[in-house]
């Protein structure tokens, strides 16, 4: 596919290794060491995505993003070491497509980069997939991915998972879950909801015996964890 990537990172050694890693993954990487150089390259060359470090020697990465967004909707993945929630919110509000804190797992960078490129390719920007750590629920394509790999579940189970994910961080009773599902689909209920839950767990949990994404609360119901991984 050889997508062209602009990597803006002031740490030369990290930039070199990132370029090598992403190059091996099939990207054509151009590196820029400062905000000014990045804006220059962006104005001159055509790129498919931008990987942007927030802390640059000459200017704030947020400013680079703001200036870029004034005339382009290039996919942007932000890298930052600040790890402060406010930075992250500001970054996403300025139009960054995703955000990754340093030190990141290189494979996660790759997965997220591919995810934002795929999203741009499909053109459905408004219907962005739900992301919970390594889990990605693509509502538009009705696809489920873990670490970028597609997991197969039935359509009914996908609807069930969507209801759970839309209510992440909230306890749902079995009855409440069924009520929410009825609006979505009119499939007759041949099996208990618990069986469907255990099928979903088998697909998305690392250890289905100790679920961390769909948690059972004794006597209360199910909880889809807001924070996973």
């Amino acid at each position: 596919m050889a997508e062209r990537l602009l990597l803006v990172e002031d740490d030369a050694r990290l930039a070199e290794m990132l370029a090598e890693y992403l190059g091996e993954a099939g990207f054509r990487v151009t590196a820029a060491g400062s905000g000014a150089a990045a804006l220059e390259r962006l104005a001159a060359g055509e790129f498919d995505a931008l990987v942007l470090d927030l802390m640059l020697p000459d200017m704030d990465g947020l400013d680079v993003c703001r200036q870029l967004r004034a005339h382009s909707d290039l996919p942007v993945l932000m890298l930052t070491a600040r790890g402060d929630a406010t930075d992250r919110i500001v970054g996403l509000e300025l139009g960054a497509d995703d955000y990754l804190p340093k030190p990141f797992q290189p494979r996660e960078l790759l997965a997220r980069l591919r995810a934002i490129l795929r999203r741009r390719g499909s053109g459905s920007v408004s219907d962005a997939p739900l992301r919970f750590g390594r889990l990605e629920i693509d509502r538009a394509a009705r696809a489920l991915r873990l670490d970028g790999r597609v997991c197969t579940i039935t359509s009914y189970q996908f609807s069930l998972l969507l209801v759970l994910a839309d209510n992440a961080g909230r306890v749902l009773t079995r009855d409440g879950l069924m009520d929410l599902l009825k609006g979505e689909q009119l499939e007759s209920f041949d099996r208990s909801i618990d069986v469907h839950i255990s099928r979903i767990r088998a697909a998305i949990e690392d250890d289905p015996k100790h679920p961390r994404r769909i948690i059972t609360l004794r006597g209360a119901g199910y909880l889809f964890a807001r924070s996973q991984d």
Binding site: D11, R13, L14, M17, L18, E20, Y21, M55, A81, R82, G83, D84, A85, T86, P101, K102, P103, F104, Q105, P106, R107, G169, R170, V171, H210, P211, R212, I215, L217, A220, L223, A225, R226, S227
Partner: protein, 416 residues
Amino acid sequence: MSRLYLRFYFALLGSLVLFALITAVISHHFVGPVDRASRTLGKLIQNALPPADAPAAEQHEALLRLTHGLHANVVLVAAHHAPIAMVGDPLPIPDDAWQRGEWRQPWKDDTIWMTHLPDGRWLAASAPIGLARPAHALMVTLLALALAVAVGAYPIVRRLTKRLERLQRGVESLGAGDLSARVAVEGGDEVARLAESFNRAAARIESVVGAHKALLANASHELRTPLARIRMAIELMKETADARRKAGLDQDIAELDRLIDEILLSSRLDAVVDHEVDEDVDLYVLAAEECARYADVQLDGRSVQLRGDPRLLRRMLRNLLENAQRHGRPPIQVDITQRDASIALCVSDAGAPIPAEQRERLFEPFYRRQGGNDGGGAGLGLALVRQIARRHGGDAQCVALGDDRSGFVVELPMRH
């Protein structure tokens, strides 16, 4: 009476009352009994005059003799207000108001002075007669003085303390995290100097905290970039490296990253943070998510709502569970109970009870437990637990539970 201006004010009123009492004592001892002196004078005049039922001519003659060389207009009035005798120009006849005990009346450009005789007659003159004003007049004067001072002093005292209150509001908003809070400096008195000192101190704090924040942001970047490099390098080593060693290195990086995170979070919690998150949080849901990360953690309780920062509360739960996992023995038990307006979170394990003298020290940063078999220090985990609990208006304690279990209890108010 906690308000300063009220204290000032009541102190002033108190001293006025004291002043009145002293004046009353002095006048009693040194000015003499005014009322009795007036009565004596009235009796003397009555004795010098013919009796009240004597013919008017006789009374007139006696009055002429009595006022000889006085150069004043004088009138003698009967008890039933009819004038009996008159010397000089006519004076108005005393009316009821006069009889209510008043002893002088304004009249034209002059004043009429009066003395009441014991038999009911009045003697009114355009020159002062009688010894002095009656005693209650003195009290009226004092009361008027007190009233004047009370009314006059109130706005002055109030203005002074209003300035102090403005200063207090400034100090409070600084304490609440608004580091740009300054107060207006008015005048050149002590309060103004205090306001100046406050502004100087606030400016210093603002610059120190600003520098601290910049340091934190830079430290985070400087420390994490090399970590990102190492992680990248490990990934690039690929098959050339031993898989076990690679995993070990990955774990070391994760540990270092976590430590950096904790140090930065701890100093951020110490500093005044302006972006405070305050959301409705269900602690039970957070606990359920965090407990699901471990294989043998039992959670008991029910939904409890509180206000706070979900990220910090999640971190607190994670640190408590991590601590139990590393230093305790399974099974780990988490209980969430609600008592009145406070929530108690208890994380306990079946490990050996912690000696009483060590319980408080566990919350010290990087404290190493005596005789601990785990080798490593506790890091900042429990120190952060306490910092987060206190930030939410609660506290964290290490307590001994029954049947040789020990655990950590975090008390949090439902609202703060």
